[in-house]
């Protein structure tokens, strides 16, 4: 156990940098985790409309009333320049002109004119407001004509259509046990803590573990140990045990830090799965540190590798930005990095991405695959030496 004890004596002198990382990380996470929870909610979009009625008929008046129920009607001077200015300054989204003869055209079923011919408008080309208003007006005209075709007089047809449009559309989020995880114990806000974990775990574990291993690998003390009665197998075993236990300690400290942010013991399957996810990633970070050290690089190079690889991977894999915001090209490259699968699993667990528990386990399996690859790489590199 002498090498094991030696490992932790050296660890004591290297742990400071890990503590610095932990404190900074928790300080950054605190406001992010405790920011106001954004609820998953739906509100119908309302437009700022200017309407100029040149028909002054019952039909035009009732159309205005119908539109006013859903949208905000803005009062402007009847001046084309002022209307255009208002649109430029986004005071109104859409200016609708109901031309003279609107009621007549609307009542005649043989008139093929649809909304874009029944009405005139001022609008920004290809804006969402145009799309919405076109849809709404088309639907309105089609429904009124359908009611008239059924034999209703215009006034009744308008009433029927108004009733049906008043009902609006009830939007409900589909929550399925199989398809998504909406776990109140593991909110997307708190998931931020776990989301950034790949960067911080790589940074801390590589920057703490690799210098310890480099110190133990220094030629002269290492030769002295090799000249002793400690067998090579025992030496390797003790080093691996030390690395594993140190990694678990670092991971546990982060998990305790997470509990401070969480406000107590983790709850719910999703949360514990996220904990397991972070544990797997901690082990990947540890084997990555051991793999780097097998190339006999210096401490400075280790720091550089951890920063470049940790930060690069975090940016590419969605630790700092949602994966949905990343381009397909980046995501394709990111798939060959373990953090991608970590973030994907975490996203599924927090409900940020669709997926099943099977998908989460699949992500864990891919992460373990990276662990095994790095382990094999380390063994091959060391056996060659």
């Amino acid at each position: 156990m002498q090498v094991f004890k030696l490992f932790f004596k050296i660890a004591k002198s290297k742990i400071f940098i890990g503590i610095v990382y932990l404190v900074v990380f928790l300080a950054i996470c605190f406001p992010m985790v405790h920011s106001t929870q954004e609820k998953l909610d739906f509100t119908d979009t309302s437009l700022a409309l200017y309407i100029r009625d040149e028909d002054h008929s019952e039909a035009s008046q009732r159309l205005i009333e119908t539109l006013a129920k859903k949208n905000e009607i803005v009062d402007l001077e009847n001046d084309n320049t002022k209307i255009l200015d208002a649109m430029y300054y986004e005071i109104v989204d859409y200016a609708l002109v109901i031309p003279e003869g609107y009621e007549d055209h609307l009542s005649h079923l043989d008139d093929e004119a649809m909304s874009h011919e029944l009405f005139q408008s001022y609008h920004m080309r290809d804006s969402y407001a145009v799309a919405m208003m076109s849809l709404d007006l088309n639907e309105y005209v089609r429904n009124v004509r359908m009611k008239i075709a059924q034999g209703l007089p215009l006034s009744d047809a308008l009433t029927e259509v108004e009733k049906s449009m008043e009902q609006g559309v009830e939007v409900k989020f589909y929550v399925s046990d199989e398809k998504t995880f909406v776990d109140e114990n593991y909110t997307q806000n708190f998931a931020v803590f776990f989301q950034m974990m790949p960067y911080i775990l790589i940074a801390v574990i590589v920057n703490v573990l690799a210098p310890i291993l480099l110190t133990l690998n220094r030629k002269d003390p290492r030769d002295r140990i090799e000249c002793s009665r400690v067998s090579i197998a025992s030496y390797v075993r003790q080093i691996f045990s030390g690395s594993a236990i140190l990694t678990v300690i670092i991971w546990l400290v982060f998990m305790l830090g997470g509990m401070l942010l969480y406000g107590g013991m983790y709850k719910g399957t999703s949360c514990w799965m996220a904990v397991l996810n972070s544990f797997i990633f901690a082990m990947i970070s540890a084997i990555f540190a051991i793999f780097i050290v097998s190339f006999n690089v210096g401490t400075t190079v280790v720091g550089m590798i951890s920063q470049i690889f940790g930060l690069g991977m975090a940016f590419m894999c969605g630790c700092f930005f949602p994966q949905s915001m990343l381009g397909n090209g980046i995501l394709t490259i990111a798939k060959v990095l373990p953090a991608y699968w970590y973030v994907k699993a975490n996203d599924i667990l927090s409900g940020a991405q669709l997926g099943t528990m099977k998908d989460v386990w699949m992500c864990f399996a891919v992460e373990m695959g990276f662990f095994v690859l790095l382990l094999i790489g380390t063994i091959v590199k060391r056996s060659r030496k």
Partner: protein, 313 residues
């Protein structure tokens, strides 16, 4: 002095095209302070590394305490202490922790280990520096720590690989005295160095190496007897007349006379009254001279005679 502690037979170690050790044979007896002398790069450290199984070798056989030495000969390794040329300690541990750590690689029992560590620190004179980190120690003290780490477990065979490189004279003497003490306490010592004075001072038997080969072996006196020159007399004076040097060359035991850097250098081979005979000639010729001194041959002279170059070249 009869048991063989280390036996090296026909050892060959190559680094690609370079043959670092070439058909080397060594036999080190129990209780010896065995010196391995040679210039830098002559193969001393490579030989030591092969003996310790730190390096695989190409040909030959190495036995330690009568058994073949292999990387897994842990029973043999437990009887060996190594003091390498470079500082083989951990800067992250203090003096006591370093000695305790390396002693712990051999001694499992904590109480025994504590006693051994205390004795080792006492032996090298580092008791007052127990809590110091190696980097806070002076060069000499750091070397002593290096030694303490190699001897704390009381090995039967201690290998010192150039332990006095870059050490001040006072610390060097302390280290050499310590090595002699360890030998007196029963340890067999292998001492490698390119400092001939040190080897001459402490080693009971010496092997001189050059280009990976053993070029001479014996005690200091035996080695010196192998060369023709037994005494060199130096006389400070102006450049002498050719007749004076010719006259001196006629003396029975004088083998060579030359004038170098303001000194007349007279090489003698045997004889007892060489200096008196030379002084008589100087007085007869009424030659003015300054200081006169005589030097006995050194291992450097042995090396020079065999290889044609200085040991420190």
């Amino acid at each position: 002095m009869s048991n063989t502690v280390v036996k090296v037979e026909n050892l060959v170690k190559k680094y690609k095209e370079l043959t670092a050790v070439d058909q080397l044979n060594l036999e080190i007896k129990e209780g010896e302070v065995f010196g391995l002398l040679g210039p830098n790069g002559c193969g001393k450290t490579t030989t030591i590394s092969c003996i310790l199984s730190l390096l695989a070798f190409d040909e030959g056989k190495i036995e330690v305490f009568g058994k073949e030495m292999t990387p897994v000969s842990y029973d043999l390794k437990s009887m060996i202490g190594i003091v390498p040329q470079n500082m083989a300690v951990f800067d992250e541990l203090n003096v006591y922790e370093n000695v305790d750590c390396f002693c712990g690689m051999y001694i499992a029992d904590q109480a025994t280990r504590k006693q051994y560590v205390d004795e080792a620190l006492d032996f090298v004179g580092l008791n007052d520096f127990r809590k110091f980190r190696p980097k806070k120690l002076s060069g000499g003290l750091a070397r002593r720590l290096n030694i303490a780490c190699g001897i704390a477990h009381k090995p039967k065979l201690i290998i010192f690989d150039e332990p006095t490189v870059a050490v001040d004279p006072q610390s060097r003497n302390k280290i050499l005295e310590g090595i002699v003490d360890l030998n007196k306490q029963g340890a067999t010592v292998i001492y490698t160095s390119h400092y001939m004075e040190e080897v001459e001072q402490i080693c009971s038997r010496i092997v001189i190496m050059d280009h990976g080969k053993k070029i001479a072996e014996g005690t200091s006196d035996e080695l010196k007897r192998t060369i023709k020159n037994t005494e060199t007399i130096f006389i400070e004076m102006d450049e002498p007349a050719a007749s004076l040097t010719e006259k001196m060359k006629t003396l029975a035991n004088v083998s060579d006379v030359s004038w170098k850097e303001g000194k007349l250098v007279i090489a003698c081979t045997g004889g007892r009254h060489n200096l008196i005979d030379i002084m008589e000639i100087l007085q007869a010729e009424k030659v003015q001279f300054g200081r006169v001194w005589s030097e006995l041959p050194t291992l450097n002279d042995v090396f020079l005679t065999i290889t044609g170059k200085e040991l420190r070249d």
